[in-house]
């Protein structure tokens, strides 16, 4: 799977990439204020998306989605205010909005990083518990039936 993705990446953006670029271009052309506001508020997310080297870019996607959730309200307010570029810049200049969006994206990125580690800890603990139970069971068989202990134990 990873090999295929690497091969695909080495061949450059495919049709989907071109379509995404076209859509972005269309949005920038047709809805410039929203694009400006979105671009400013979601800049860390896009950055994470670009920098994420993992297949499927999970961390970047999570960061972007978290940022999008926080950016929904300012974008909605922009639409109600008339969709001007100035209004977009003004909304983006609001530090509480900008910090909230960026913090949400950071939190999303952090969650995407920590969730696998936490899960790994849980799975390892479960495996250790299972091994302890099995070893005890084996020791009982060894005692009861004279079965030799496992090698290296």
């Amino acid at each position: 799977m990873n090999g295929q993705a690497t091969e695909r990446a080495s061949r450059g953006p495919g049709a989907a990439g071109w379509l995404q670029g076209l859509a972005c271009g269309a949005v920038v052309t047709l809805a410039t204020p929203s694009a400006v506001l979105g671009g400013l508020l979601l800049a860390p997310g896009f950055g994470a998306l670009l920098l994420d080297r993992e297949p499927g870019r999970p961390a970047g996607r999570v960061a972007l989605l978290c940022g999008a959730a926080m950016a929904a309200a300012p974008v909605g307010a922009l639409w109600q205010a008339g969709l001007g570029v100035g209004a977009a810049v003004t909304a983006a200049s609001d530090m509480s909005v900008l910090a909230g969006c960026w913090a949400a994206q950071g939190a999303g990125w952090l969650v995407a990083q920590l969730a696998p580690l936490l899960l790994r800890l849980i799975l390892d603990a479960h495996a250790q518990a299972s091994m302890a139970r099995l070893r005890a069971e084996r020791a009982r068989y060894e005692t009861d039936w004279g079965i030799p202990p496992a090698e290296g134990s």
Binding site: G56, V111, A115, R120, L123, M131, R138, Y141, G146, I147
Partner: protein, 668 residues
């Protein structure tokens, strides 16, 4: 050395009644064997009893003891009982109880007897005793002056005891027919009543002369003289005997047993004297055939020379020297043809084994030359029914001589020599029966495992031969019922308990005492692969014996077996079951019962369940090991799973946040 036991020890009573007083020996009463006074505990007034001690390697005559059990006969010291007791040095031995001699032996005061005393005091009573023995198919084989007794002048003689040793074992060459004297002392066999008649004839000569003829002469020289001259001439020579005695003795000392008068005839000396059997005189050669043992002038001395020196005899036979001598010097071409036929048989038999072929050649040649001669196999002469005592003597003798004798006897059995020998003298016995016996004996020695071999044959042919297992040093175990009590005593010695209770000798002993139910177990003892199987087989045999012989509790033996049961317990895989079994075996051992112990240890159903449990446990452990291996090697897999699920969970949370934000925006 143990102290002499008191005669009142109830365990040492023979037949539950007779106590041997080893402190009161009776010199000269036992016919060459130690004899002791005996007290009858049931009948305190009964006196004049003695017990004659059997010596190692010379077992008592079981057939005679059985045939004479409960019998009384004047003129003979008949056996009253027999069994184990302690001798003068405290040694265990087999004793035969009989009446003590009524007076001194005839050898005590040797003087010339008159004809009347010889006939009335010696010949008649002895002939009556022999006649009575003959009706019971028993021979005496120990008739000689030092084993004949009488109470005083004018009293009839009494034949001494002859039951504590193999037939004729202690007979000097002088008193034995030459064809018995040339045998191994232990291999003379029961013989026939005619052999007793011969011995009685020699006794008459000795008493008539008042001295022992040929005294001081070597036994081999006496034998050669008898063969060369005939027994009567050899013994009497130029001496003058009373005419009646001379006529009687001439018939009694005939070389051919069939020419000797039977005891019933001797009881009437006048009739016996009138009986004349014309024996054809031995043909004498014009020239002797010189051999290492001396010149041979007739076929009888030639046959003896070949029997004594089979290597030289075989060489002369193969080289044609004997054939030429028979034709030219002796003029007996018919015999020469017969011998030639025997020599021609050899090449076909010598293809595989030269020694066997030479043994058969000389044996057949001796039988053809002298049909009266005993079986002569590679320098060993014996009558076939003397094989058992000869085997016992060889085993006791030990050393190079004993080993060589045992080897020769084993060779004799392996080649069924007795059958081949009997076939050459059909007029002297039933060759079919002899061949069948020879085949059976060979088959016995070839039986696999500990239940066969020469030891089995030795015990089988000697029903009262004590077991010679080293474990029974100091004990006499001659009957099967003596075995378990003796093992119980042995079990009390800690050093003995290092070995298993049944060794090769004991196994052969049990097998020979006709307990065929244990054949399989005894056969298996030799080739069991595991000590656990060996222990179970031994336990099965001993438990079967205890049940069959109703021996009572044997706690020491059971304890010994419980100690030896470790391998049988070790095969039980389940620890708790094994510990319970150990405990149960210990409990049963204390009760001294072997059968319950056997039932505990040899339980196939429980063993199968244990094996199944062990197999299931093994499979479970394999499954556990596989799971442990999978868990130990699954770190990467778990990491991948955690990464994948973690990312999906984070994505799900982010998607939910977006959805909530969009919905909230739409609603506001």
């Amino acid at each position: 050395m143990a102290a002499p036991p008191t005669p009142d020890d109830p365990s040492l009573l023979i037949g539950g009644s007779y106590a041997v007083d080893a402190a009161r020996p009776l010199p000269g009463a036992g016919g060459g064997l130690p004899a002791f006074a005996v007290a009858d505990r049931r009948s305190s007034g009964r006196t004049g009893l003695m017990a004659v001690q059997s010596l190692p390697g010379a077992p008592p005559r079981a057939m005679a003891l059985n045939a004479l059990a409960g019998w009384a006969e004047e003129g003979l010291l008949v056996p009253l009982a027999h069994g184990p007791a302690r001798g003068a040095q405290g040694e265990a031995a087999w004793f035969v109880v009989s009446a003590a001699p009524p007076g001194p032996s005839l050898a005590a005061t040797l003087r010339p007897w008159n004809e009347h005393d010889l006939l009335d005091c010696v010949l008649r009573p002895a002939a009556l005793a022999l006649e009575a023995l003959e009706t019971r198919r028993v021979t005496h084989r120990a008739i000689r002056p030092d084993n004949m007794f009488r109470a005083g002048p004018g009293a009839s003689v009494v034949l001494g005891t002859a039951w504590s040793a193999p037939p004729a074992l202690h007979q000097p060459t002088l008193y034995e027919p030459p064809y018995s004297a040339m045998c191994l002392p232990s291999g003379r066999g029961n013989g026939t009543i005619a052999d007793d008649v011969y011995a009685l004839g020699v006794v008459l000569v000795v008493l008539a002369l008042g001295r022992v003829p040929l005294e001081g002469m070597e036994p081999a020289a006496i034998l050669r003289r008898k063969l060369a001259l005939g027994s009567y001439t050899a013994l009497v020579g130029d001496e003058r005997l009373p005419p009646v005695i001379s006529d009687l003795v001439r018939g009694m000392l005939a070389e051919d047993p069939e020419h000797r008068p039977p005891p019933v005839l001797l009881a009437d000396p006048a009739t016996a004297r009138a009986r004349r059997v014309a024996a054809r005189p031995m043909r004498r050669a014009q020239r002797s055939l010189d051999m290492a043992s001396g010149p041979a002038w007739d076929v009888r001395t030639l046959a003896h020379a070949i029997a004594v020196d089979p290597d030289e005899g075989g060489r002369l036979l193969r080289g044609g020297t004997v054939d030429r001598w028979l034709r030219r010097s002796l003029g007996d071409s018919a015999l020469a043809v017969r011998v030639d036929e025997i020599v021609r048989l050899r090449p076909s038999e010598g293809a595989t084994d030269e020694a066997r072929a030479d043994g058969l050649l000389t044996m057949r040649a001796v039988a053809a030359l002298d049909p009266l001669a005993p079986l002569s196999w590679r320098g060993v002469a014996l009558w076939p029914d003397g094989l058992g005592p000869a085997l016992a003597a060889a085993e006791t003798m030990g050393g190079p001589v004993g080993n060589l004798l045992a080897e020769r006897l084993a060779d004799l059995v392996a080649n069924e020599a007795a059958g081949a020998w009997a076939a050459l003298r059909p007029e002297r016995g039933d060759p079919t029966q002899m061949r069948s016996e020879a085949r059976h004996r060979r088959a016995t020695t070839r039986l696999r495992g500990w239940s066969g071999g020469l030891a089995r044959l030795r015990y089988g042919l000697n029903p009262l031969l004590p077991c010679s297992s080293p474990m029974f040093a100091g004990h006499v175990v001659a009957r099967l019922q003596d075995l378990l009590p003796a093992l119980e005593v042995v079990a009390a010695r800690p050093e003995a308990r290092r070995e298993r209770p049944i060794d090769r000798e004991i196994a052969a002993f049990i097998a020979a005492r006709h307990d065929q139910r244990f054949e399989g177990e005894l056969e298996g003892l030799a080739d069991v692969a595991s000590s656990e199987q060996a222990m179970l087989l031994q336990l099965r045999v001993l438990a079967g014996l205890q049940r069959r012989l109703e021996c009572g509790p044997l706690p020491a033996l059971a304890g010994w077996l419980a100690e030896q049961a470790a391998p049988a317990l070790a095969v039980w895989r389940n620890r708790s079951r094994r510990e319970a079994l150990e405990h149960a075996v210990g409990e049963v051992a204390r009760s001294g019962q072997l059968a319950p112990m056997m039932a505990l240890l040899d339980n196939p159903a429980a063993r199968a369940a244990d094996a199944r449990g062990f197999q299931a446990a093994g499979e479970a452990v394999q499954r556990i090991d596989a799971e442990l291996a999978a868990l130990a090697g699954g770190a990467e897999s778990r990491s991948e799973t955690a990464r994948r699920i973690g990312h999906e969970a984070a994505l799900g949370v982010a998607m939910m946040a977006v959805t909530v934000a969009v919905v909230a925006m739409a609603l506001s």
